[in-house]
Symmetry: C2
Subunit: 310 residues, 2 copies
């Protein structure tokens, strides 16, 4: 079986390296980071931290060198989904692609380019430490299921889950994986937006009474949208928020890390994704709309040039 990882950064590498250990899976990786690609091809893909092994992966920055694959996993940052899929579409002429990206809205784009789509929600985390080497920071489950508008078959979903499980990660194949996805996106929208705007780590932000209330407003809007979509959440995002406060008090949410590094954030896939569904369904999401607008304004400030005379 051939599997191609599209976007073999921190997250993509965790899946690529694990799957690379399996004898019956040939792992390909499409990534534009040439130094990372070269290092993987030369020395294999190495994981450190929670994992400690090196696996063989065929990395390419040129899609034409990658054979057709039955399965794909897209793990780019959400703002690169379209450009990545535009390039990678030929790999999956008859394949199914699973998004393990943040937030919501990526599967809709993937569905424009491949015949069948799997939606994924993941907890594992990592970061690239040097070309070819990724630190496995956090473990946790991967939930996958057919994506409604262009669904992969459950046989394909189970085949992918089976491979991920045999590779040493923890994956659950579900008929309807939307509950897991929306639970995580609602929690993430609150934690990330408040982190990005207050510049406080998650737990510290939770301890600011007013900020914690805004998180609740963001989450209540998300829960209302999920309900209107007929989605049963896996768990209460409020509990996830408090659990995160206990377990990761000083953790800077990824959107805060992006803001501090003046990198484009994934707000469109988090608060923006909730707000977009809210607009379509007639569910008012003023706080998610506001967070999206403000964070996109903040992104705009990084490239603002003020004329000397004005």
């Amino acid at each position: 079986m051939k599997i191609c990882i599209i976007g073999c950064g921190a997250i993509g590498s965790l899946y690529a390296a694990h799957l690379g250990k399996l004898d019956d899976v040939e792992v390909w990786a499409y990534d534009l980071n040439q130094a990372h690609v070269d290092a993987i091809n030369k020395n294999g893909l190495r994981l450190t931290g929670l994992s400690d092994f090196t696996a063989g992966v065929n990395a390419r920055s040129d899609v034409s060198e990658i054979p057709e694959c039955e399965l794909g996993i897209i793990a780019t940052k959400t703002m690169f989904t379209r450009s990545a899929m535009e390039a990678a579409a030929p790999i999956f002429k008859d394949g199914a692609v699973c998004s393990v990206q943040n937030g919501i809205g990526s599967e809709e784009i993937v569905a424009e380019y491949v015949p069948r789509v799997i939606q994924g929600t993941i907890f594992p985390a990592g970061h690239i430490t040097e070309p070819g080497v990724v630190n496995h920071d956090a473990g946790g489950k991967t939930w996958i299921g057919p994506f409604a508008s262009r669904p992969a078959g459950m046989d394909e979903v189970e085949k992918l889950a089976d491979a991920i499980n045999r590779s040493g990660m923890d994956c659950l194949a579900m008929e309807d994986a939307r509950g897991a996805q929306w639970t995580k996106v609602i929690f993430n929208a609150a934690s990330n937006a408040m982190g990005a705007l207050t510049r406080l780590p998650h737990g510290v932000a939770c301890d600011q009474e007013g900020v914690r209330k805004v998180m609740s407003v963001i989450m209540a809007e998300g829960v209302a949208v999920a309900e209107a979509l007929g989605i049963t959440l896996d768990s209460d995002p409020e509990e996830l928020t408090d659990y995160g406060r206990e377990k990761a008090y000083y953790h800077p949410p990824s959107m805060l890390q992006d803001v501090l590094a003046q990198r484009l954030t994934e707000v469109d896939a988090l608060n923006g994704g909730i707000a977009k569904y809210g607009r379509e369904l007639g569910i008012p999401c003023p706080m998610n709309e506001a967070c999206t607008a403000i964070i996109k304004g903040l992104e705009a400030s990084w490239s603002l040039e003020i004329p000397e005379k004005h």
Copy 2:
């Protein structure tokens, strides 16, 4: 007539210097910036920019050296109102004090310390360029009127307005000056909060469609609170916002300047003031509540120390 300026920074100095030109007014100034106080006493208080003159002002950092005054003007940043009035109260045993501070909520505090209070709303702006010298950046009207819960008499209000007018500034004495105050605070809450959070100058922020919509949400909440208070606004804060976009496209609102300098902001007197009245009146102000909480969270981030091991 003796008038004492409490907080003789940029704004206080504009009034102190102008009033200092009048033969029938003895101007005192209470300020804790010793270098500024010393320079004023040595060389007089000098205005540059829109104004260009030097006037005699008796500046003191020790309240006990200041005689009793009939009138006062408090011009400190809003977070220093209480400490300033606590110290300055003996100057006004039988005096009336006018607040020309930003936002709302200061008059309530002033009223705890002096017999009679005048509320003021102002457009003039300036900044200290060196001790004893203040640049007069912007002109504009000053509106003053008796403060409801502990009102000065209209005779006192008119006496102060007359002195300010004769000194070369433009002051309007009103029976009810709340319309002017709330118009400005509603506009300022929107412009300042969005500037502080997006880090965009006023006009640039206005041109971000989503950000402009959040400004409208902030202002609509403020208008609803003003209506519930029975206040008739002077003009439409939406128009003021668009006028500001035309006239001061690259102007960084003061709260953005504070955020960039990591100084405490006046959010409690702007969005926080609207939200506080909203809570008392049962008018929901979720966006003003959120902006207040987020900006106070941001202030907290400046002094956050993250332990090395966590």
